[in-house]
């Protein structure tokens, strides 16, 4: 079977994601509910560095793919002036995703816990497939210092 790399239909970082499973208990009929999709966030009042968020959810809708892949996410402290100077904060362990047909839509959620944000700035979340970035699978989270 020829492998076809999937495309990203939707990608978001949010404060919470809840998987709703219908009475049939069939995950094929389930859906994800995203709560508070994030773009700009503030550290708590009085905190302006070394903040770790208890949990963050990365949600992606992938489709148009065929084959088995390793899916993961990386978080970088971004340098908007010179992207080569982005500093990799960490990456998730790869998780296998598999597409049997191009019409298939995979909704993948990665729950990140105790994510460190050493200082205010832009943090880049990237969706990785077999170690390579997927077009449309990146998002900046702007972290602001907490109010004094």
């Amino acid at each position: 079977m020829t492998k076809v790399r999937p495309t990203v239909r939707f990608f978001a970082v949010c404060a919470d994601a809840v998987l709703s499973v219908p009475k049939s208990l069939d995950l094929l009929d389930g859906w994800w509910e995203l709560h508070n999709v994030l773009h700009t966030v503030w550290m708590p009042p009085g905190v302006s560095k070394n903040f770790g968020v208890n949990e963050l959810f990365v949600y992606a809708q992938l489709t148009d793919g065929v084959g088995e892949y390793n899916l993961g996410v990386t978080v970088e402290e971004a340098d908007l002036v010179n992207p080569k100077r982005n500093r990799l904060m960490g990456r998730s362990d790869p998780s296998t995703v598999s597409f049997t047909d191009t019409w298939e839509v995979l909704m993948e959620t990665i729950k990140l816990s105790e994510v460190p944000f050493p200082k205010p700035g832009q943090y880049l979340f990237r969706l990785m497939l077999d170690g390579e970035e997927l077009p449309g699978g990146s998002m900046y989270l702007r972290v602001m210092p907490g109010e004094k």
Partner: protein, 162 residues
Amino acid sequence: MSEENITYGKFVTKVKTRPAIEVDCSKWADTTTGDWTFGSFVTKNKTRPAIESKLRIPHLRLKVSFMPGVSLETLTAITKAMIEKLCAVAPDLNLAYDTTLSGLSTDSRGATIAVIALKPQTPGMDIDRKLSQLIEAARAAAKKAEDDNEVEIENLELILVS
């Protein structure tokens, strides 16, 4: 397509879901050095309840009430001319004659009432903006019909039905 042919309901989704992949990021930074705070972000989002809207394609309804004594042949010619005039006024709307919403009837005096329904085939265009031009065109077409066919139009109304 008339409203009766539309089935309303919910989408069926066929997606593969599974529980979230859990990742412990506590090792990503050396949290043993320096003071670290763990907690939740503060967000300052502007939100409001969802805007509720129903999508509709408005159509034009031209009602022409003739005085008694107009033959079917004359009536057909008049309505055809009126349709052509209205379509020509708004070419960007791409108006199409809708037979399901159009028709002829007679009132208690035997006078004929013609209803012409025109639906835009370009739904994205602003039909409201064109309405005054269309009303003017309908009036002009009615006047011409009276002069050319020696008939009398008792009443004419053009409304936008949404």
